[in-house]
Subunit: 351 residues, 2 copies
Amino acid sequence: MASDVQPTPAKQPVTLREVAAIAGVSVATASKALNGQGRMTAETRSRIRETAQRLGFRPNSLAQSLLRRRSFTVGLLTNDTYGRFSLPLMAGVSDALVDAGVSVFLCNVEDDPRLAQLHVDAMLDKRVDGIIATGKRIDRHLPVDLANLGIPAIYAFTEPDPNAIAFVSDDAGGARLAVEHFCRLGRRRIAHVSGPASFAVVHARAEAYREVLAENGLPVLEPLLGPWSEAWGHEAVRRLFDGEGFDGTREKPDAVFCGNDQIARGVIDALRERGIGVPDEVGVIGFDNWQIVAEATRPPLTSVDMNLAALGREAGLALLSLVGGEPALPGIRKLPCRLVVRQSCGRPPDG
Amino acid sequence: MASDVQPTPAKQPVTLREVAAIAGVSVATASKALNGQGRMTAETRSRIRETAQRLGFRPNSLAQSLLRRRSFTVGLLTNDTYGRFSLPLMAGVSDALVDAGVSVFLCNVEDDPRLAQLHVDAMLDKRVDGIIATGKRIDRHLPVDLANLGIPAIYAFTEPDPNAIAFVSDDAGGARLAVEHFCRLGRRRIAHVSGPASFAVVHARAEAYREVLAENGLPVLEPLLGPWSEAWGHEAVRRLFDGEGFDGTREKPDAVFCGNDQIARGVIDALRERGIGVPDEVGVIGFDNWQIVAEATRPPLTSVDMNLAALGREAGLALLSLVGGEPALPGIRKLPCRLVVRQSCGRPPDG
DNA sequence: TCCCCCTGAGAAAACCTTTTCCCAATCCGC
DNA sequence: GCGGATTGGGAAAAGGTTTTCTCAGGGGGA
């Protein structure tokens, strides 16, 4: 009467026992044949293999894991629901693990300790081999303690427990790349517009900004801090170009290093609205290299990329080696950023 | 010599056998006590429970799954690596499943058939209870066949196999919401700027656009199709406002319905650069409700939200019921969009 | 007093695979 | 032809839990 319904066709997977029975051997022999273990005639081995092949036998990971005490599964904990940070990071993690046959449980815990504990417990019950914690901020802890779980934990782009291993971006290094790029291009009055003072990275980048300027004998303007928004980029331009100018000299900046791409977007738009040419009069560099933003600014935005996918890869590989029993020193590893040059900085004066 | 290293502390989980031994009962009784099965004195039951509690006993999911033939695990397949579509969708799926104690394997398959098959095989080996497939386009297939896997599959925001269950956004309905909103506000000359003709949603939305205009006796301008980019929004404004005008009347549009938020952003920026007021002279509505874009436009963008999290939830619940053995009719379910009103449309003329 | 039924709890099979040990048969050298 | 080594393969335990079956003892009815 009703049309097609769809309860599972229930195609039972074939077990090793069936393979063995059909090949006329014991399960022990079948197992050894398929795993290249044990001794038997080449004929027996190939007969078993062929039978397994024909029947579409695939070993039950659950049974294997139970025996081996290793589930080839890890948990990835994040609180970055909609974030552009965790996605590339996850892709990197997954990429590092897939080759080892390891699958990833994705758990979004928002910022809810109860939810986090729920997910961690579920992962523990499912006997994950390890956990990777990641977040949207380097200087914030996930709302759960991963220290004494009995399985290794790696932190990526989030604040680690003491005595754990963490991978984070080298924000100071990234800022250096940007400011040094400006210096090489002959910019002399370089401003810095960044995010809220409550973010650790804001200070790390600002410090590097100051250092590079000092090394190059250039004047330092106190960094302008505000929200991570386009609107703040606009406002900052107003302050920079309506204010009393650089270093008391009444000169206006010829470069702006921004704390993220959204601020940079606001800065570029505001400059254009004031009739100030980018990159001719003012160069702009962003941070995050959020492609969809960086490529939509006019001109396209030069930006610092934190190499999050690489960071995820490293975290995945580190976890793998920890799971494999190899010891490793705890600590925070900083991975280098890279500068993605587009068109918002111009070429060297002699270029 | 070297400082602290960190090979796993190897805190072995406690097993049911140990609980039983310590409580002085058999494993069978212990199991039944903890699961509320079997018959025993209340005293025995509570003694066992207390022992388990004290020892921190947590049943090994692997062993349970092996026996029950149900892993409380599902696979989520996506090809939307960096996408803003899959994240809310995943959050919805995860949200629907976490309450049932089901964990989610996240597998990003890019568009690589080999990688997709690899992940599907891994999921099958790990005995997932079902698979949810999702992608970045409603009208594209994932590069793998999920039809005869022996486990249920649900499709969300991607093209399903025939005879499968799929959840997609109601793009036509969403477009209606937008255009009808314009009509209610008294806009009379409504243009439509959308994405490439190769996208099915572009046609669905354009068709709804035409219908609503016809229903309201308003002139229809042939939709302008181009890339999903800000630059195309700029270009479209040029064509709309430099061209010969609306319906041959030389009148310019007083509203633009855009195929996504990036195009809308370009449109709004271009209008402002021409000195055309938004929303006073021209109203603009976007699609996707990509918050970070919609809130950064000036003025903030009214946009159609596809309710992707809800869509993910529905998909998760549907999979759960399929896994539970309940039959369901195959077919494509369209879930309604909603209009998120911000400030790019203005108020009703009499408002 | 006898029988039956019920209660409380344990033994064992089952889930599926791996691995260790073991055994029978064959082969070799002498 | 005999002792020992080698070869090919199987039996069984292990991993942790659930579930069915079994069983001993006690209580109640006739």
